[in-house]
Subunit: 203 residues, 2 copies
């Protein structure tokens, strides 16, 4: 059973309850086999309630993706008072932790499937454009702050952020689509990269 | 219209002709909407011939993925006589070229969709495990050769290969699932990484 993120724990309105049920149904069934009925089965409301709010599965899932991104936009911690170096190392450590915690694995699989819809569906592509841009902007801010604080070298924040994002997307995709997990090796090399290319040289 | 890779240009047997038709149908329709009829439409054979050889769409696509990987295994050039540094820089340059050549875009989209099947289908997962392992082994060989030739630092070839593979998978996934392309920024940063972490220091 996948653990829902805290902001889904105790929904206070209908949309929140639908979002929670969608999270659980996605984790249990994945995207391809998911039906509106599977989502209705996850809470005490009927399928017709879902059809009252949404045109179908993809309409609901696109709203779910927006909802999740909005929660991240509101809640992602941001280092405003120094510590950009520790923040970045913590991100790497958390995102590339092994083994992939089982409560994240099912959701991570579903996200890889949802992202793949963007290959041919402009609405999904629009979502992942917005989502990637948000996380890249967040990383860019952190790198820029680190440069200003003097804990990072004088790097190009956008290029550094783009590189880190590519590594994270790559590992996240590979680890749920293969039976091997290279996250340990990538984390070791990413730390070497941070030392040699990003963190300020020790005085 | 997508250009087929050279080894698909003039198939000499039925399997080759089916593989060529599959490539073209995948590029034209993507995975989700693809039907056996779409594949039959791409060549002069009937749908029943395809059903004679394959149990259905996924059976055919899994054979297609094996076929493509075998061609890569046979044909991927490998630097045996030095030049690991140039080889690696050429790989980065080619894989992260912008804009994504249109003749690769459609196939790249289809590959992202096929990989996403691996999130829930063990047969697809087995293929991508084998495929990722092959390309990582190839990169590991190149890095090891560069260390032995003295053109690279004394790095861990497996960690370096895993890092490069994650970057490539990340960019390939992001560029066909969003409307932005960060490949230029990633390439600039990947070259900085190669200079600082992988290539031997200038004497």
């Amino acid at each position: 059973m996948s653990r829902t993120p805290p902001f889904l724990d105790e929904p206070t309105d209908t949309r929140g309850a639908i979002m929670r049920a969608t999270y659980q149904a996605l984790c249990a069934h994945g995207y391809a086999d998911l039906t509106i009925q599977d989502i209705a089965d996850e809470f005490e409301k009927s399928k017709s309630l879902l059809y009252h709010h949404y045109d179908g599965k993809d309409d609901l899932l696109l709203d779910f993706l927006s909802f999740m991104l909005e929660r991240f936009e509101e809640q992602l911690p941001f280092p405003t008072d120094g510590g950009a170096d520790e923040y970045l190392e913590r991100v790497i450590e958390r995102v590339l932790a092994t083994p992939l915690p089982s409560e994240h694995r099912d959701f991570s699989r579903a996200m890889v499937e949802l992202r793949a819809q963007a290959a041919h569906d402009p609405e999904y592509r629009e979502h992942f454009t917005r989502s990637d841009a948000f996380f890249r902007k967040q990383l860019t801010h952190v790198v820029r702050a680190g440069v200003e604080e003097g804990v990072f070298r004088d790097v190009d924040p956008q290029a550094t952020a783009a590189m880190l994002q590519a590594v994270v997307t790559g590992v996240r995709t590979q680890r749920v689509t293969t039976n091997e997990d290279t996250a340990d090796a990538v984390r070791a090399e990413a730390e070497r990269y941070l030392q040699a290319c990003v963190l300020a040289e020790e005085e």
